[in-house]
Amino acid sequence: MRHTPLHDEHEPLGGKLVEFGGWHMPVQYGPILEEVRCVRERVGLFDLSHMGRFNLTGPDAVAFVDRVATCYCARIPLGAIRYGLLCRPTGNPIDDILVYRSEDEVFLVVNAGNADADREWLLAHADGFEVALEDQTEDLAMIALQGPLSEVSLARVTEDLDLSKLGYYRFSHGTVCGCPNVRVSRTGYTGEDGFEIYIPTGLAVDAWRSLLEAGQASGMAPIGLGARDTLRLEAGMPLYGHEIDAEHNPIEAGLKFGVSFLEEKGDWIGRAPLEALHAAPSRALVGLVTEGKRVPRQGYSLFDGEENVGTICSGAVSPTVGKNIATAYLPLHLAQTGQLVDMDLRGKRQACTVVDLPFYSRKRS
């Protein structure tokens, strides 16, 4: 199992470590539901150094991304970030990614468990493009601050960068915890305001400790992958291997916002089948809530009467909603707000109601 530069920090903080995407990562430090509340109400600190990071340089970097990714890279303003996917020729994804656009480079953040496959896929499709890929995963630690008190916490250790001026899905560089020229983005995977920062590996431990100390006055706590999964599900954000995978396309997953069919983008891998799906989808990803105590889990079957109509993609106890929540694909005639379906638990049924996604969205000031 691979270790992040912050690996040895987690156990002394109470972290319980598990295997995730080939890495030894903290799943929780305390009760998961309290960690969720900490991020919704205050601020949480996450070690995300397992996420894959690739830097693309060269004159064709942008054109290359426009060939392999679903988002329209040439149209991303400098200093901005967009969500996109790397798709197979079928239109079904290899991974979902964040694309950071700079003057002379494109920086990609990918899922830990897919990073090797992503790198191979990118290199296999780079023929004819003047582009170089540098894997920065081991060079940089990735740390997230998420929650309404993120800005005030991070500002305590940031110099020469005005965080209040950094817009959502924008990035810049500044001195963080004494480390100059750190990439700081206003992004996250929780549905809250927050930042993701990229610190050179050798300075990561000091920065992590400084951030925890700086956050103390704001009630900051370290947050594990368990709460992160609940937070992203509440916010209606997909997770590869759950809502999207080799069998589930981004269109029916509700991710059209990350897919560009503009003619100027040109042809890209997976475009034609996704355009066809966009014109005629057959199912849709929906949110489900259940009043019952049983927690929906990936793989549980859904029934409309005696007909098996779908399968749970993700499920969780949601402290924010106050109910158990899930996502699932349903045929379009059942993918209607208020529709009832039954979740099967070894022959016992528990009623679920279709609701709009996301389950939670923060009030923006």
Binding site: Q28, K293, V317, K348
Partner: protein, 132 residues
């Protein structure tokens, strides 16, 4: 060492003889695996109705935490005669006291033999906590 007045399955259930009947529960190890020390992380326990006949090793219920769900397996064969109603709504009782107040079901056993089960020492060893 864990209580030696009862027997164990490697899947973390215990069974204790109490007169004509036996009582089933789960071990502190199982509770810890499910809840990581956070009693509120246990969310649901599905138990059988009195009158149900169980075979040895049969799954008679499930216990569920925020992040996991585990089968409950029957250490011996018999008929369910009583269910601990308290824990259905108060799983923290099970989290706090899995050995006594947090019992799951009471069973009238078909056979009083426990020789197929682990004793406390054997169970400790099976979870990697053997005495040195």
């Amino acid at each position: 060492m864990r209580p030696d007045d009862r027997h164990y399955l490697p899947s973390h259930e215990w069974v204790k003889t109490d007169g004509e009947t036996v009582v089933f529960g789960i071990t502190d190890f199982a509770v810890e695996e499910l809840s990581h020390g956070n009693e509120d992380d246990l969310v649901y326990c599905d138990l059988p109705e009195p009158g149900r006949k169980l075979t040895q090793g049969e799954t008679f219920g499930e216990i569920e935490s925020v992040k996991a769900v585990a089968d409950l397996n029957s250490p011996v064969a018999g008929e369910v005669v009583e269910v601990n109603k308290v824990i259905e709504d108060h799983l923290q009782v099970l989290a706090k006291d899995p050995w006594d107040k947090g019992w799951l079901i009471r069973v009238k056993p078909d056979d009083t033999s426990m020789s197929h089960l682990l004793n406390a020492e054997g169970y400790d060893a099976s979870v990697g906590e053997a005495d040195e």
